[in-house]
Structures are given as structure tokens and as C-alpha cells.
């Protein structure tokens, strides 16, 4: 179980290194194949590991493996260790499986880009980083993976570095993640002080002994990191901008894997979160608020990728709600199905964009149903899964979460329940708004101009991978049907053995499941209907009160707020420093030294008269004085 896990971790790294070192000596196609191959190898290894785990007793499915002791400072010993248990296995399979499909897709998508090799190296690097994060056996390795993932995200968002907007978006993503990382690391320091170790086993074992304040602070710090990485309110503004990256990047990083790292984190650290129930509640609340916010803002987006990005934000909100109330199994389940249908949506959108030579504005699209029939089917499948229509995967996972929030009870539970249902309605509206605008009606003049489908809708690499994802989106829900059979939740149960019998804190009853599903599906259908009414006949936009429309289009002014709070003061201070300190003091001191030396030299140079006799006189006089001094001092 452990050896394949190491192979899984290191294969993408080997791929990235190979592409980097071979550079121009390999063809662009080969770089793509190398990258895909390495991720595929990782998937195979993850599969092996998974099968090995299945062959074991349910209680025996956890294994740690330490390569060597990395850091040893006083009593603190930290090793380069990985933890292979059901939770990490699930993540490994999702990351490498969906990752391999997406990297394969990119072979076709990035075909025309001259810097393809760099792209594939970065993608392999990203997969490696994400696996590091997921497989980490202690907090420090987790931090390493956390940071590397942020780096890979920065590199890939800013891939088209000639575009200032891309570079700015990359910086924004990195900086916001850095804010989260700071909170993260503070939590680590606190843990080191309070528990003396950074190993998962050690910390979780002592989670109950932490005082309330400490536990809350630690959990808050961890939540900060999770919120930044998963683009939840308040650290969410980077995700829409991150759509500057190529579409496969958006699919892999900002839909399927990296942004779900926050969810994984809360699930992994659940003993710490359970020791600080207020923070867990906060997690759920943030998830619900983000869910609603993102759903509302998605209603007015005009860029096809941005709609899907806000949808991601919203769905991760659902996952946060799940882990916030303790339904870890359901949260992870939704993570998996979401990876399938969100990647499907992004990649299908990528086919549309590719066919339209880079057009991303939905208002320029229309009538693609007959022109790109296969893509239309793929996107429809993805949209239905997203909206939670049975029997597609999204239905099972999303409704499980909403049902769990009903089961959690209490004021918070009901609020979350209502929010989840409202979210289902909004999801239906904005998803099908996209479908109807892009695929319905008549082809717009822009489409007629740009569409080129001489070689079919897209290269085989693109259509085949999307098809696979389509299938997964359909059948992916089969691993867990609420109330009837739940092998998925059972598999995840024994994470970090605790005295409880089941991992999930809440288990919805069958009635609750059915009621919830009925309501959710109903609202979803209602949403689809509303979208049909408003956009089905080819109408583009809807009249709405100007203020509301304005607020939503500006994403509730979060960007402006952060701009005013952080950017302007910081840049003002930086400018002040430059004119007051950098110029006169630092630059000035350096040039001051040089001009001082020169001036001194000029002054002393006056003594160089060139007359031999003056020099000799100086020597003689000097000797006389010195002799006098020596003689008198003795």
C-alpha cells in the first residue's frame, strides 16, 4: 500500500523534471505525452495502493512511511513522511485520475502554443504538489505541498505572461493565498508550542487536551488557509480572475483539485475542528454565505469561464457546509463528483472556446447546438449533474449534504438547509442560462465568422477525454446512494481512529433524505424553468433593477473594498518609502560614499605636488617628529 503511494507521489515530479531538463531536445508533442504519462503512472500507482488497501481489514488501512528525518531541532523532530489512509487514497485517485484526463486534453488544446513544453512541465509539477499536500504525514510536509500548489497555480495562471491581465491575476491569486498561508503557519506555531510535535498522529491524539482558546485559534488559522485556497468568502476574489489561465488549468486547478484542498484540510484536521466547535460552525456559515453569493453573482456573468468559476465557488461552499457540520463523508463525496462534472463543464467549454478561436464572451455565442452537437451533449450532461438532477452524480452528493444539514438540526442546521435549497435553485438558473445562451437560439454573426469545425469539433484528445469525464459524471454517483448503500462513507470511516463508531457526526435519516431530495430536485427544475423562460427564446439579458444588477456585476464590491483597504494604503506607503528612504537614504548613502571618497581623494591630492624635495622634506620632518615621540615616551 505504501510503496505504490511513493511511486504515485514521485512519478509526476519525475515527469516535470524530465521535461524541464530535456527542454528543447524533445518535441512539444513528446512533452505532452511525458506529462500525461507521468500522471497516468501516478494514477495506476494510486489504483494499486487503493486495491491493496481494500484487501486489508477496515481498521488496518492506515500506514505512515517516513523517508528520513528532515528537521531535528531540540525536541522537535519532523520527518519526510507520507500518510496513506482512505482519505488520502480518495484524494489521490481523484487528483491523478481527473488530472491525467485533463493533461491528455491539453495535448490537443495547447497544440498551437509555442511554449507548450513549459505548460506540461508546470502541470506535472502541480500534480506532484497536490499529491504532496494530500499524502503529507505531518503538518510541515502539508505546508510544503500547500505552498508548492500555490506556486504551480501562480505559474499556470500567469502562463500567458505577455498579457498583463494574466500576470496581475497570478499575483492576486498568490498574494491572497499568502494571506491564508500566514494564518496557516501561525496555527502551526501554536501547535508546536502546545503539543510539541507536528505529526498528525501526535497532534490529533492531543487535540482533546488543548484549551478552548488554543484550539479555537489553531482551528481559525487552519480555516484561514483553507478559505484562501478554496476561494471562500472573504478570500475569494482571486478565483474569477484566475480564469486568465488556459482552460485546462482552470479545469484542473480551479475546479477539480486545488480549490478542494481546503475541504480536504478540514476533513483531515477534523479532530482539531471538533475541539473548536465555534470554528466548525463558522466554516459551515462561510460555506453557506459563499454558496449564495457565488450563485447570485453567477447570474450576471458574461464570460463563459467566469460562470463556471463562480459555480465552483458555490459548490465548494456546499462542501464547506458539509465538513462544517461534520458530514465528512458527504463532503468528500461531493468533492469527487464535483471534480467529474466541473472538469467536464470546463473542458467542454474549452472545446467551445477552441472552436470559436478564443472567444469567451457568451453574448457573442449562440446556436451552437447544431454546430457542435457532441459538445452540446457533454455540456448538457455536466449542467444536469451540476444542477443535481437524478440519476446523475451531482444529485446524490449534493442532496446528501443538504440532508445532512437538515439532520444537524438547530438554528444553524436550518439556516444551512435553507441556504442549500436556495443554492440549488440558483444553480439551476445560472447553469441553464449558460446552456441556453450558448447553445440555444440562432448562431450569432460572430459565431458564423469564427467557427471552424473542419476537423470535427475538436482534436481526439479533447473529445475523448471529455467523453470519459461525461461518463464519470453520469455514473460517479453510484458509489453512494443515501440511505441504501454507502461504501464510500464506510471506506472513509476509519480515518484517525477515534472512539466514535462512525466518522460522520451527522447521519440523515431516510425520511430526511427523501424530503430533501424532492425539494432540491424540485427547486432545480424550477431554476431550469426560470432560465428557459428568460433565456430560452434566444433573449440575451434580462431587465433587472439597475442597483441590483450593478452590485452583482461588481461582485458585491469586494474587489473595490479590498482595493481601498489594502492596495491603496500599501502602494501609498511604498511610494512614500521610495521617495523618502530609498532615494536619499539608501541610494544616497551609496553614492555618498563614492562622492565622499572622491572628494577626500581630491583634497588629499593637493599634497601631491610632484616635487621630490617636498616629499623628502615631509619624510625628514616626519622622522624627526616620530623620533621625538619615541624618545619622550620611552
Amino acid at each position: 500500500m505504501v510503496a505504490p503511494a511513493w511511486i504515485c507521489l514521485l512519478a509526476p515530479l519525475a515527469g516535470a523534471l524530465a521535461i524541464t531538463l530535456l527542454g528543447r531536445r524533445i518535441s512539444r508533442r513528446l512533452a505532452g505525452l511525458l506529462s500525461t504519462g507521468s500522471v497516468a503512472v501516478a494514477f495506476a500507482a494510486a489504483l494499486l495502493s487503493f486495491l491493496a488497501a481494500l484487501g486489508r481489514d477496515p481498521d488496518d488501512r492506515e500506514a505512515t512511511s517516513t523517508a528520513w528525518t528532515w528537521l531535528s531541532a531540540g525536541d522537535l523532530e519532523i520527518g519526510l513522511s507520507i500518510l496513506v489512509d482512505p482519505l488520502s487514497l480518495v484524494m489521490m485517485l481523484v487528483v491523478t485520475g481527473v488530472g491525467a484526463l485533463i493533461v491528455a486534453y491539453s495535448i490537443g488544446y495547447m497544440h498551437d502554443d509555442p511554449e507548450e513544453r513549459r505548460f506540461f512541465a508546470y502541470m506535472a509539477l502541480f500534480v506532484f504538489s497536490m499529491l504532496t499536500l494530500v499524502l503529507a504525514g505531518n503538518f510541515l510536509i502539508l505546508l510544503v505541498g500547500w505552498g508548492l500548489v500555490g506556486l504551480a497555480s501562480y505559474l499556470l495562471i500567469g502562463f500567458h505572461h505577455e498579457r498583463t491581465s494574466a500576470v496581475a491575476a497570478a499575483k492576486k491569486a498568490f498574494i491572497m493565498n499568502a494571506v491564508g498561508d500566514a494564518a496557516f503557519v501561525l496555527a502551526f506555531f501554536l501547535l508546536i508550542v502546545e503539543t510539541g510535535t507536528l505529526d498528525y498522529a501526535g497532534v490529533f491524539g492531543r487535540a482533546d487536551e488543548l484549551s478552548g482558546t488554543v484550539a479555537t485559534l489553531v482551528a481559525l488559522g487552519l480555516l484561514g488557509g483553507a478559505v484562501a485556497k478554496s476561494a471562500q468568502i472573504p478570500l475569494h476574489t482571486w478565483l474569477p480572475d484566475a480564469m486568465e489561465g488556459p482552460t485546462p488549468v482552470s479545469a484542473l486547478i480551479h475546479a477539480a483539485t486545488m480549490v478542494t484542498a481546503g475541504v480536504y484540510l478540514v476533513a483531515r484536521m477534523h479532530p482539531l475542528f471538533e475541539a473548536a466547535p465555534s470554528v466548525q460552525d463558522l466554516t459551515a456559515i462561510l460555506g453557506a454565505v459563499t454558496l449564495l453569493f457565488a450563485g447570485l453573482v453567477a447570474l450576471v456573468q458574461t464570460d463563459i469561464k467566469r460562470v463556471i468559476a463562480y459555480s465552483t465557488m458555490s459548490q465548494i461552499g456546499y462542501m464547506f457546509v458539509a465538513v462544517g457540520i461534520g458530514a465528512y463523508g458527504n463532503g468528500m463525496f461531493h468533492l469527487m463528483t464535483h471534480a467529474f462534472f466541473k472538469a467536464l463543464l470546463f473542458l467542454a467549454a474549452g472545446i467551445v472556446i477552441h472552436a470559436l478561436l478564443g472567444e469567451q464572451d457568451m453574448r457573442q455565442m449562440g446556436g451552437l447546438r447544431r454546430l457542435l452537437p457532441r459538445t452540446w451533449v457533454f455540456m448538457l450532461v455536466g449542467a444536469l449533474a451540476l444542477a443535481g438532477m437524478p440519476p446523475l452524480s451531482g444529485f446524490f452528493s449534493k442532496d446528501a449534504i443538504i440532508a445532512s444539514s437538515l439532520a444537524a438540526g438547530g438554528g444553524l442546521g436550518y439556516f444551512l438547509f435553507a441556504a442549500g435549497l436556495a443554492g440549488a435553485l440558483l444553480t439551476g438558473i445560472y447553469t441553464f442560462r449558460l446552456i441556453f445562451i450558448v447553445f440555444g437560439g440562432e448562431p450569432s454573426p460572430s459565431v458564423r465568422e469564427r467557427l471552424h469545425t473542419e476537423h470535427g469539433e475538436g482534436p481526439v484528445s479533447m473529445t475523448a477525454t471529455v467523453a470519459v469525464l461525461g461518463v464519470l459524471a453520469v455514473v460517479g454517483g453510484a458509489v453512494q446512494i443515501a440511505g441504501i448503500w454507502h461504501p464510500f462513507a464506510d471506506f472513509l470511516d476509519p480515518i484517525v481512529a477515534l472512539e466514535r463508531e462512525h466518522l460522520a457526526l451527522v447521519e440523515p435519516s431516510v425520511t430526511e433524505d427523501w424530503v430533501t431530495s424532492a425539494l432540491a430536485v424540485g427547486l432545480g427544475l424550477a431554476g431550469i424553468g426560470i432560465a428557459w423562460r428568460l433565456y430560452g427564446a434566444g433573449r440575451r439579458e434580462v431587465a433587472a433593477p439597475r442597483a441590483v444588477r450593478h452590485a452583482l456585476e461588481h461582485k458585491l464590491y469586494f474587489d473595490e473594498l479590498y482595493n481601498g483597504l489594502f492596495y491603496w494604503p500599501a502602494s501609498g506607503i511604498a511610494r512614500a518609502f521610495r521617495s523618502l528612504v530609498e532615494g536619499p537614504l539608501i541610494g544616497g548613502s551609496v553614492t555618498g560614499v563614492s562622492s565622499g571618497a572622491r572628494g577626500l581623494g581630491r583634497g588629499v591630492g593637493h599634497a601631491q605636488t610632484g616635487y621630490l624635495r617636498t616629499y623628502a622634506l615631509a619624510i625628514a620632518a616626519g622622522v624627526a617628529v616620530l623620533a621625538l615621540v619615541f624618545v619622550s615616551v620611552r
Binding site: 616635487y611 624635495r613 622634506l617 625628514a620 620632518a621 622622522v623 624627526a624 621625538l628 624618545v631
Partner: protein, 191 residues
């Protein structure tokens, strides 16, 4: 009796020494200055003999008076009229400052000898016959002061090389001049 002879010899040599020293500094003609220096060196050799430094006295005469001064005389003969330059010149303050400096040095030496040293200078060591002999000096050179010996020979080598370099005809410059002259002649012939 012997003491008296020694005193007389000392006085003669000492006065010759001082006199020739002043002469070196004051003659206008460098040739006469050089001759005065030879006299100075000779009288110093006599004083060295009185101080039981036979080998050094011999070396002084052979090396200094014999080799170095001959070199000086060669150069003075070669330069001839060019070497005549009048006394002093330069800023007046320099002249006075020079005198004061030299005087200060002298004064200090006198003070050190007279006052600081106290009566200790009168204590003289007893010496053997071998004192100052080539054997003793040779042994000292090759054992205690071997480094100084080797370095001194190195310095002499460097001086010799320096002399050769400084004195060498700059053949390249001469050749260039010859070529230029030839070219000018050819041009003139063509025209």
C-alpha cells in the same frame, strides 16, 4: 702610547669623514662630489678598523669605494655637462624647513646619546680576536641570518635586472622611427 696613536688616527679619520661629507653636499660639480664621497668612504673604513670590524672595512673599500663609486663616476662622465645644476632653488620656506629638519634630527641624536643612554654607553664588552672576523660573520650569515642573506641576494638580482631594463635601448621606438623616416623619404621620392 698605543692609546695616543689611536686617538690621533681617530681624530684624523673623523675630521676627514666630516669634511668630505660636507664637501659632497656643497660642491657644484658632481665630479668633485663623487671624489669627496670616495674620501668619505675611505675614512669610514679607517674608523671601522678602529672598531674591530676588519671584514666590514675591507668590504667597504672593495664594494662601496671600488664598485659603487666607480659606477657613479662612469655615469657622471657620461652625463657630463648635463649634471651641472645650481644649489638650492625652489621655495624659500623649503630651504629653511630643510635646515630645521636636519637640525632637529641632529639634536635628537645628541639628546639620545647624551641624556637617554645615561652611563650605559661606557660599558664596553670584551671581545676576542675572532670578533668581526670573516669566520664569525660567515657563520652568522649562514645560520642565524640566513634569510636576510638570501633576501639580500634576491634584492641584488632585482636591482641588476632593473638596471638592465632601465638602460636598455628601446629598440622598438628606434625601429618605428627608422621606418617612418624611410616612408617619408619614399613619399618624397615619388612626388
Amino acid at each position: 702610547m698605543a692609546n695616543f696613536v689611536v686617538w690621533v688616527v681617530w681624530l684624523a679619520a673623523g675630521l676627514a669623514c666630516l669634511g668630505s661629507g660636507v664637501a659632497v653636499v656643497s660642491f657644484t660639480n658632481p665630479f668633485f662630489s663623487a671624489l669627496a664621497l670616495i674620501a668619505n668612504l675611505g675614512s669610514l673604513a679607517v674608523l671601522y678598523l678602529l672598531l674591530a670590524a676588519e671584514f666590514v672595512a675591507a668590504a667597504q673599500v672593495l664594494v662601496y669605494a671600488g664598485a659603487v663609486m666607480v659606477m657613479f663616476l662612469f655615469v657622471i662622465a657620461y652625463l657630463g655637462g648635463q649634471a651641472d645644476a645650481p644649489w638650492a632653488g625652489g621655495p624659500t620656506w623649503q630651504r629653511w624647513a630643510a635646515v630645521i629638519a636636519a637640525g632637529a634630527l641632529l639634536l635628537e641624536i645628541v639628546m639620545v646619546i647624551g641624556f637617554k643612554a645615561g652611563g650605559r654607553l661606557s660599558d664596553e664588552a670584551d671581545i676576542t680576536e675572532a670578533f668581526g672576523s670573516p669566520a664569525q660573520l660567515g657563520r652568522l650569515f649562514l645560520t642565524d641570518h640566513l634569510l636576510a642573506f638570501e633576501i639580500t641576494s634576491f634584492v641584488l638580482l632585482i636591482a641588476a635586472i632593473g638596471g638592465v631594463i632601465l638602460g636598455a635601448h628601446s629598440r622598438r621606438a628606434d625601429q618605428v622611427k627608422e621606418v617612418e623616416a624611410l616612408q617619408r623619404a619614399q613619399e618624397a621620392a615619388r612626388v
